[in-house]
Symmetry: C2
Subunit: 347 residues, 2 copies
């Protein structure tokens, strides 16, 4: 089969690799229809995370089950399924608690040992614990199917930020970052009933999406000026703040605009966060919750809303490529000419 | 009247100061019967926090109302009352939310502008929002009255750590620190129904109190060795961790022993915390919650348990002095010959 392979920073290629195949009775093989390129893929693409040549890429995919192992019971060949960006056994303490990203037998797609999402097929370990069947209503409607794809990662991650920040109906929310996750965070906050949503970012086109997703206030200032703008407008800060970047400046901003007694939900991979303002957190009882999103926990709930036509994060997918176009997709994400790339393998 | 006054690091004195007096119609004056010396008083006593000569000391007191302003409705002269370690108006958004330490009109005892607890009397701003009447059953029983005194700060703070860490019935808890707050954290965790409680500290006498308060496992190792001990014994960490010190090593330890999906409740003044392990928090969805304890929010609930004979943190009070003995009390706390000093002004 063909799949995307990392060669060096700035160099990913679509190549022939061994076919995905059942290796354990709990496996399934999924033929990929849609995949994505993720902002977090840029960490290895830019050489910030050190990867080895030959590692496989992509952790977001939706497709059709091709074959299953003998012990798989919840999905069958022919089912259209969606995968979260990590696999999990569905049986351990952490899966039961909804922290599937900490599954004792779990792991992440791609890298050295696993198939990646940016290829023709994926061997899925623990298919029962990992995959979710896409509802018929979604499966039969191309627009809804496209709306479902971001649930593999960015929409679930934005939702995790909102849940971790304790977004409540009628509350005031600030979302730091206008990347795909930040935009999905705005959408998640609106879905949870937030009344006022500040979107903080620096890209007019992305902030326009934020507005369409429910942001009531757009803040393009940086640093102290941005903090002052939100503190002024809210008379003391936002009840819930979503940190969707993972940089030092964004973490400082997030804690800086949180209201006393409020919470910051952080989901930006903190690759470049050296410290948090623990004194401000202490004096004001500001909590910091979140982390890598247990997308598997949220998929059923979010899929139901997609099926009902109530949730559509697909506007974040502003560039579509085919499998051969994946390297160009990385370049577009790296150059910020695309917010998020959809890889359409059905074309 | 006589009260304790800061002169210089290592030098507090009991002196004659202006009598406490009603200054606003919402004030009360409380004649102090019992006060304490707090571990956090050592920050200025040791010169870590820079204080000015002449500032008044002490933020924990219980006593009898002497007089009230015209607008005070909930306490009357003669009532025995307990104060939390901060005052609050009881009327603002944050008081309503139970974050009285962020009250828009609130403040802390002592310092430049307010009476301190370590004196004969205290002018209490916002008496209705601040003071809580001690139940008759407690007021009439010297042992229960002594049990109530730590509710002014350390018991409420230990409880805040437990609540912030999300301690649940049947859960596993680790308490970092065997000072008065850590010991009260153990007691709070036991009260909330934790099944297994690890107490981490380095003082045999204090750990003996921890055991009496409900600790099931005592850990005297430090650093990585302590982390390994708790991770091993719990097969992956404690659901709830109480950080009751405020040092870099204690914060590292707290985050290090938290279970995936768990929470650290931090209440140690983070005067010496430079960083938190944000990557471990992210990978494992470990939350960090807490801060300066809104003792006022917890006093009614905790007092009711003292009245019922179900809660007695008084074993942390291992040295009693009279008002003239306050300087000696500071010296004992500073030299770690006392865990917590009770100042008995009734003698």
């Amino acid at each position: 089969m063909r799949a995307t392979v990392f060669h060096a920073p700035g160099d990913v290629r679509v190549e022939t690799v061994p076919d995905a195949a059942i290796a354990a009775p709990t496996d399934a093989v999924v033929r990929v229809e849609y995949a994505c390129v993720c902002g977090s893929d840029l960490w290895f693409y830019r050489g910030v995370n050190v990867w080895e040549p030959g590692w496989r890429t992509g952790h977001e995919f939706l497709g059709v089950v091709d074959s299953v192992g003998a012990e798989v019971t919840t999905v069958r060949p022919g089912d259209r399924v969606i995968a979260p960006f990590s696999f999990s056994d569905g049986a351990c303490e952490f899966c039961a608690k909804g922290v599937q990203t900490s599954c004792v037998n779990g792991g992440f797609w791609g890298g050295e040992s696993n198939d990646g999402g940016q290829g023709e097929a994926v061997r899925v370990p623990f298919a029962d614990g990992t995959l979710v069947v896409v509802p018929e209503a979604v499966s039969n409607d191309p627009a809804l199917l496209r709306a479902a794809v971001p649930l593999t990662d960015v929409m679930s991650t934005g939702h995790h930020a909102a849940v971790s920040a304790g977004v409540r109906r009628g509350g005031t929310v600030a979302v730091v970052g206008d990347g795909a996750v930040g935009l999905c965070g705005v959408l998640a906050a609106a879905r949870l009933g937030a009344e006022r949503i500040f979107a903080l970012g620096h890209h007019d086109d992305r902030l326009a999406i934020a507005k369409a997703f429910g942001a009531t206030d757009l803040v393009t200032a940086r640093g102290d000026e941005a903090v002052a703008a939100v503190l002024d407008a809210t008379r003391g800060g936002a009840d819930a703040v979503l940190e969707c970047v993972g940089a030092q400046s964004s973490m400082d901003l997030a804690i800086g605009v949180a209201r006393p007694g409020g919470r910051v939900g952080f989901v930006g991979v903190p690759a470049q966060v050296g410290s948090v303002d623990i004194r401000r957190m202490f004096s004001n009882n500001i909590g910091l919750h979140g982390g890598v999103a247990p997308a598997r926990a949220y998929l059923p709930e979010l899929l139901a809303d997609v099926a009902a036509g109530r949730l559509d994060p697909s506007p974040v997918l502003d560039l579509t490529v085919d499998l051969d176009g994946v390297p160009a997709g990385y370049a577009a994400m790296d150059g910020r000419t695309a917010t998020k790339v959809l890889v359409d393998l059905t074309r």
